[in-house]
Symmetry: C2
Amino acid sequence: MSNQTFQPAALFAERMSIIPTSFIREILKVAARPEIISFAGGLPNPKFFPVDAIKAAADKVLTQDGRGTLQYTTTEGYQPLREYIAARYKQKQGLTISPDEILITNGSQQAIDLLGKIFVDKGNKILLELPGYLGTIQSFSAYQPDFGGVRLNEDGVDTEQLAHLYAKHRDIKLFSAIPNFQNPSGTSYSTEVRERVADVLESYNTVVIEDDPYGDLRFIGTRQPSLKHYLGEKAVMMGSFSKTVAPGLRLGWIVATKPIMEKLVVVKQAADLHSNYFAQRVMHQYLIDNDVDAHIATICKAYGEQRDAMLTAIEEFFPSEVRVTKPEGGMFLWATLPEGVVSMDLFDKAIKQNVAFVPGKPFYVEADDYRGGGENTMRLNFSNADAATIREGIKRLGVVMEEMLVAVA
Amino acid sequence: MSNQTFQPAALFAERMSIIPTSFIREILKVAARPEIISFAGGLPNPKFFPVDAIKAAADKVLTQDGRGTLQYTTTEGYQPLREYIAARYKQKQGLTISPDEILITNGSQQAIDLLGKIFVDKGNKILLELPGYLGTIQSFSAYQPDFGGVRLNEDGVDTEQLAHLYAKHRDIKLFSAIPNFQNPSGTSYSTEVRERVADVLESYNTVVIEDDPYGDLRFIGTRQPSLKHYLGEKAVMMGSFSKTVAPGLRLGWIVATKPIMEKLVVVKQAADLHSNYFAQRVMHQYLIDNDVDAHIATICKAYGEQRDAMLTAIEEFFPSEVRVTKPEGGMFLWATLPEGVVSMDLFDKAIKQNVAFVPGKPFYVEADDYRGGGENTMRLNFSNADAATIREGIKRLGVVMEEMLVAVA
């Protein structure tokens, strides 16, 4: 019948050959087997989800305004939720942001997609961190940019390389950064690096995307000034409730000034009219009825202890040649094996010992200025296992690493 | 400071000059004034939202599996919800669809956006109905297609014109259709038109997007076979819970066979990881714990009575030269004024009499094969007002129409 003429592969848009399929999806499928200790995921610990408080919030909004809560709403999002976010920026970071400069999105993942849509034409130059967040690589790929990569050092992005790339290309549209407890590396930008990033970007017509899903999850030290603090409207900030409240509610946001916000609202409306209104109402009710800071402090204490357990076990069990980052917050740390040791091979051996992680290679964009690399790196998640499990998993990984190092040497 | 160098307008992607800003947003702002009888919106009647049943469902899922409900989940969507949708296609339409062929989206609006993303390169030819759904025009515009338009007749799309366009261009990638109670026109495809559409498309490598948000809201007659019934995998179907349950939960879906579904999952993940999981769980619990068919029958009875009230009042109060569609379901009907009477002018006069509607012009794509048109048309929504209010609003509109017809004559 009609199937004889149907060749869908011939109909797909060009971008479909460019968007990377998620390697991590496959990793996570393997890592989900119950016998495996998994450091592969990127999940917040469900033990801390405020289930009862969310239930009370859902009951309250449906009781007080059920019909309103279940109806269509404005594209920008629930006004009191936008006001809450703006007030929190003022309170926690001293940033003056109007609720009108906030758009509610389906997690910060959608924020990335919308920003790609409004800014990126095919072939436009955009910069990501190396290693960079996979979701950003995936989302932006759909708009067929020319990716560039900027190395991360221990104190944040390499500002010399950043300056070099901006000077060389001059027409870089976006630089996408996660300055706090970056995914995947766990590194944070020092104050000095933030200042230098601002200095570099000052003279270019460019946007910095300041993605900050983990900023509240700090166990050590104090919050650093945001890039927006230095760069004003050049910085588009993103935030998320996924790590502090619950990811299943899929709520994040973008902060942008008016000219950019007007475009974001157009593409958000075209993308899905508005974010889940029921979830927005429940989230807002939860936020105003509960001590959110106490809740976040509980999460930070636990994740901090888990991070310590992981670093202690690494010290004890990993070969001394393996370098790791020491994150001050967030959910991940990053290990670098000696040159020539391939973490994908390590993964295959580790799985046989029932322990999993994510090999680092997919976090490196294939950019004109950067080909390959990252083969000897790996991401370890510490948010989703208790200290004893972490110790056992790291011990197993250490044994496999020792074997590989001997084989390579 | 940095603001001197910041010219965001120079950074926006080319597509941003193409996506139409929503004219309807402005209309709806005016129509929202409380003294106005509005036939402008496209909202389901909140009187029928199953508030208590949703509240019970939310309580149940959070009590039984709170942590699971609030965690990240798979991109494809909640498996039991996909199974429910598949079973319903079998039960109501005799269509055999695997749950694996269903992707849960943020309302069917997101489904349109994802389909645009996987299929449409800049300059690709795609066909919409004339008049067409504004959300489709907006979403697809982001991918910069070359739009074509196919007239709607009383019994559905003009299949002669459809055949002509396919024969002329040969490389039309998509034809986007709403065969049941279309938004904006209220028209439905007859069985014969469906068969002829299938005949036309049979020999081309093309996709028909069969958008069906209103299909369950039938007051008159019986359900017609879907285009998918005739076209198999060439038809990508879309559905929504927004009109039968509640739009604030933002849940719709796409039905597509494996090669297309694989691509959809990639772009869905890049777009927002997955649809709101809490809402998916609540929706599924609601669907299995309640008599959904009885609920839909209640809505159909009410909308049918409101549609009758509107047609009766139109018969009584509109000038006889005004033609209207007689929808068998859905939420809208379409009026065509005599040539030369501009519905935008009518809108300005109607607002002064505290009655609102949506002028028809924005529903016509500016296509190569079709420039302009629609100035004398208008959309009237009947789902969101009671019979007495509808009668009063139509009466006021009739007076303004009479005045305009006299002025034109």
